[in-house]
Amino acid sequence: MSTGFDPLAATCPAPLTEDERVLLGHGSGGRLMAELLADLTPRLGAPATEDAALVTTGAPEIVVSTDGFVVTPRFFPGGDIGSLAVHGTVNDLAMRGAVPVALTLAYIVEEGLPLEELRRVTASVAAAARACDVPVVTGDTKVVGRGAADGLYVTTTGVGVRLPGAHVSAAGGRPGDAVLLSGPIGLHGVTILSTREGLGFETGIASDSRPLHRLAAAMITAGSCGVHALRDPTRGGLSAALNELAAASGVGVELDEPAVPVPPEVAAACDLLGLDPLHVANEGCLVAFVDPARAGAVLSAMRARPEGAQATRIGTLVAGHPGRVIMRTLVGSTRVVDLLVGEQLPRIC
């Protein structure tokens, strides 16, 4: 039969021109975001590899972090934008080995938001802050016109004091370190997607949003100086966190796919939508690079806390392939786990 193959047609279009506008993908935690940060942060004279900054004022060591929260929907199973804003910033401090001592809070509110909703979010901020033993010491509220924002944006800044003996840093990983994960992945991202889009995965699934500073403190205490790096894999998921830490530390990561805990609901939702759980956001787990001699003690300390009850070892750091994350697959082959370009997009079939 004639297939009509035409050599001229068997080609592709010209490359896209550089688009000088912000895309949603620039906020996704993937490669686009990394490129954006690499563009912007040098203009501030600031490095971009850590979740929180160490302010060198002598002892005690002060750690500062700030974060904006724009989640839709604002209320979801397992949390809301208020508790998330507290947990996110507390966790960023914890990833530098710090205990939070004060939080600031800023709202950008769109005209027309029901006042009752603002009260609910504020009550949630207060409850989360109490549960973290950190006071909200100052704040700011701005109202913008209808259509200028999506309801409510929350920004929190946290100030913390570093635990004695905590030397955790994104650049701290060393070949031979154990890669530890505190719990199952993908719950927050799938919960948000499911609630936002009404996909009907809600049953039995909730965000893992929670504070991790006590877990981090327990790990640091149990690990002596053996906890080298900590990161909570939020946007961009476990894949982004490991790629960022591997790059900052100049080491390679070797993951074991069967060891990475993916809850059945997350696996099923990701399968249906064509998403990779390794790229889905989390808000209540952390990944750690730990000296192999201390890994057992650290893992025991993690499992003794409720937020680390399902902690497990998922891989090892190696000197080869620095900055790359390689995963041994279920069937015994290997693949590279890379940063996504932008957002994960649900597939057609």
């Binding site: 080609t11 592709c12 279009p13 896209l16 279920l330 590279v336 890379d338 997009l345 057609i348």
Partner: protein, 366 residues
């Protein structure tokens, strides 16, 4: 985990790999038609563990949607009265100048939906706007799109329409068998769940190639490959069904009826491949009022592809991404030259995401 873990068991996987190694006495070339299968094979590294050559077929709907259709989508989405809806992975496919995500950033009302019926509901809720759904894909997605048109017609929605670019698998397989050297096929399980596999029987007989209807989990693929290899080694060329838990010989008659009511078979251009007779679906004349290309006057829009990459060879299975000089350099998921680099299920993107790099020719010193 019920229904997933069973098909991802590492011990069973290794046993099947051993059986394939033992059974294959030749380096057979086997094409998986479906992009979902390509994704699993590359993501799990299955092809690197078995002594057969896996050839990646044209079964990524995002990849084969014609450039002119993407340009039509962009032209429609740019109209202020339009809410343009699509599945997510069509949004990054490059048209002649831009893509739908960039159009969205510039102000077009482009929205991701998870079902064409969501787009129908959007039309009902926005009577003052025109809601267009980008009806792309194989036999898998076509029934739901047919149902969306039937629902809109039943509800008398005058502000809903579809931009259709449906493709059919068996004519494409036939075209591939005419032009590429492939010994056997893994047929896409979900396509056969809709259409059954009776259409494949004359293909298997005419071209003397085994065809095994196969699922998408690692064990599905390994078992499908083993079934194909056994046929090849025994000199058989039959249609077999590995995906018995989801596929019946006659397919889904309800879905096929919906297709028959709403669509007609027509010639179709496949991006990167060219025209294949009787390989597409268009709206039947009685549903022409729901044709977005006619409604917005973009049916005549055509686009000329630029000779920059070898997507056509890759989609036909005559080259791999590693054969392409642009792969990983000029062409990356960040800046795709061609559609196979766009979707996670495109062959080039699957290779790139798995970190596969082109081996440059190396001079061996004596």
């Amino acid at each position: 985990m019920k229904y997933l873990d069973e098909y991802r068991d590492p011990v069973l996987a290794r046993r099947l790999i051993g059986e394939i190694r033992a059974a294959a006495r030749h380096r057979w070339s086997i094409m998986e038609v479906c992009g979902g299968q390509t994704h699993t094979i590359v993501r799990q590294g299955i092809d690197e563990l078995i002594p057969v050559r896996m050839v990646h077929g044209p079964g990524c709907p995002v990849c084969v949607t014609p450039l002119a259709t993407v340009d039509r989508a962009l032209a429609i989405a740019a109209r202020p009265e339009v809410i343009f809806t699509s599945f997510g992975d069509m949004l990054r496919v490059p048209g002649s100048g831009t893509d739908l995500l960039s159009a969205k950033a510039r102000g077009a009302d482009v929205r991701v939906v998870y079902s064409p019926l969501d787009a129908v509901r959007l039309a009902a809720a926005n009577p003052g706007r025109q809601v267009v759904f980008f009806a792309v894909g194989f036999e898998t997605t076509a029934p739901a799109n047919a149902m969306a048109v039937l629902t809109a017609a039943r509800e008398g929605l005058a502000n809903f329409s579809v931009l259709v670019s449906h493709v059919l698998v068996p004519p494409a397989m036939s075209a591939i068998m005419e032009s590429a050297s492939v010994d056997a096929f893994l047929a896409a399980g979900h396509v056969c769940a809709v259409m059954g596999w009776t259409e494949y029987e004359p293909l298997a007989a005419r071209y003397r190639v085994p065809i095994v209807v196969t699922g998408f989990e690692p064990l599905d693929l390994l078992e499908g490959i083993l079934m194909v290899v056994r046929q090849l080694e025994e000199g058989r060329f039959e249609v077999e069904n590995q995906y018995a838990r989801a596929v019946r010989r006659e397919g889904n008659t309800f879905a096929r009826d919906a297709l028959r009511r709403v669509f007609r078979v027509s010639g179709q251009t496949w991006r990167g491949i060219g025209d294949i007779p009787d390989s597409g679906l268009v709206l039947a004349p009685e549903f022409a009022a729901y044709d977005a290309a006619l409604r917005f006057g973009v049916a005549g829009l055509s686009a000329r592809e630029h000779p920059a990459c070898i997507a056509g060879d890759i989609l036909r299975g005559t080259s791999t991404p590693l054969d392409c000089p642009a792969y990983g350099t000029l062409c990356t998921p960040r800046r795709p030259l061609g559609a196979p680099m766009v979707s996670a299920e495109g062959t080039c993107a699957a290779y790139h995401n798995a970190g596969r790099v082109r081996q440059e020719a190396q001079e061996v010193l004596p």
